[in-house]
Symmetry: C2
Subunit: 270 residues, 2 copies
């Protein structure tokens, strides 16, 4: 049972990719909508929320935890790994490996929330793989509200994106990490504004691949699960369950839009 | 002791006005930054937060509660009045009275968060005073993030504001209620975009006046307080105290900016 948590609905972009890459395993998703967004809050507060989310997923039977929120991953993953015995996969580790291996000019940009950029985690992890890389972080705090409003093609969104990406263009990066699970919903605009030559790294794809390779090599975790849901469709309600700490019509619409099907959001006070 | 709560820092525009209008009374402010923003969350969740905030202020000695957040006032005030014996003043009641009395063409606009506009509270209260009024609500969910980023004069903010206010211009309103405590920080732009003939109603001023008249007529509440802090300056730390459930450097800057002096934000887990 794969447990995935995020500060809200954005992490569903990761859940959806995991569903495609690891279709044989059941998913448990928890979106902490009641406390969203994490990205503008302090590390201490985000760590408290991450602990609570992990406790909830474990209580529901999760055998591995995926931290599908960059702000939570940037601030809380070390704490979770120290405090819980269950394996913790995060959206940052796989992504930094891909970026460090893929850059040619060793200039990597990273866009994310304030909490993610402030943490310096991407820089630290990339430099561990390739110490010669230069990392340019850019906090983009308005992108999540714009995406949650569904303003994916509005002129204002394009202008704000141009403003955020301008310094990264100046630094002539050849690789850009989308360091927030909401951002893949803006890939079409980001590609236009940053230029076609820049390689975009989507953390959801890298994380799903990383998780798959981890599960394929962890029979002690997967042996109980395999076969149980064979032939079961992703929308089978016993297989993949989606919990939220709060629910409103715009978020339901966003969730349905991400998966391209009706998602049954189960409200819980966890 | 006046207890004021808000979902974050925005309610400090109300606290500041109360400080000016009722300088003789000490203030207790609680900003629920750990759960901010309220405006995009469900009524049920906002009511839960409002109860917790009220409990905290009462535990600190508040004798009257001011709900300085429009989203909380719109969803929770009836519940708080039913459950607590302490008087509850809110940012909506005084404001609607002023709007209903001031309109000439009986076309009133209200801008606020999704929760505030969805609640229909402004409409209900204004129609109680003047049933002939037509109320036009416009949710402006991106304004709070823009203000919290400090983008008070950016071109994108102007464009987004124009987009939000356009339908209200079409309805030829002559009165516009700023139904969110953050919005007074954008008064200069709102006035330009909506036109000079439209009267803007700032809920912080109306609420402070309403509170003053309430306190002037409630000797049973004020007799213990009066004189105790006479001659004490507003920045005297024993007189006015500001609690927050989370704190980050951008919010500290915003708080200092609203008051025009250094504000000591006290972090609490309430």
């Amino acid at each position: 049972m794969i447990g995935i948590f995020d500060s809200g609905i954005g992490g569903m972009t990761v859940a959806k990719t995991i569903e495609q890459v690891c279709p044989q395993y059941p998913l448990l998703y928890f979106g902490d909508v009641a406390h969203t967004p994490y990205g503008s809050k302090s590390s201490e507060t985000i760590i408290g929320y991450s602990r609570r989310n992990t406790d909830f997923l474990l209580s529901q039977g999760a055998k591995v935890i995926v931290v599908a929120c960059n702000s939570a991953a940037a601030t809380s993953v070390d704490v979770l790994r120290a405090e819980y015995s269950v394996p913790v996969i995060d959206v940052i580790t796989a992504t930094t490996g891909k970026a460090a291996a893929g850059t040619l000019n060793r200039r990597i940009g990273i866009i994310g929330t304030r909490a993610t950029v402030r943490s310096g985690v991407y820089e630290k992890q990339i430099k561990r793989v390739n110490p010669d890389c230069r990392i340019y972080g850019q906090a983009c705090p308005l992108l999540v509200p714009l995406i949650e409003e569904g303003w994916l093609n509005k002129r204002e969104t394009k202008m704000i994106l141009r403003r955020y990406l301008y310094p990264l263009r100046q630094h002539q990066i050849d690789t850009l990490i989308l360091g927030c699970t909401h951002y893949p919903l803006l890939t079409h605009l980001i590609r236009k504004k940053i230029g076609k030559k820049v390689q975009l790294i989507d953390s959801s794809i890298e994380t799903a691949r990383h998780l798959k390779s981890f599960l394929d090599n962890s029979p002690e975790i997967t042996s109980n699960i395999k076969g149980k849901f064979e032939g079961c469709q992703p929308h089978c309600p016993e297989k993949n369950r989606f919990f939220v700490s709060d629910s409103t019509p715009p978020l339901q619409k966003l969730a349905d839009g991400i998966f391209g099907r009706k998602i049954n959001l189960i409200k819980t006070n966890a």
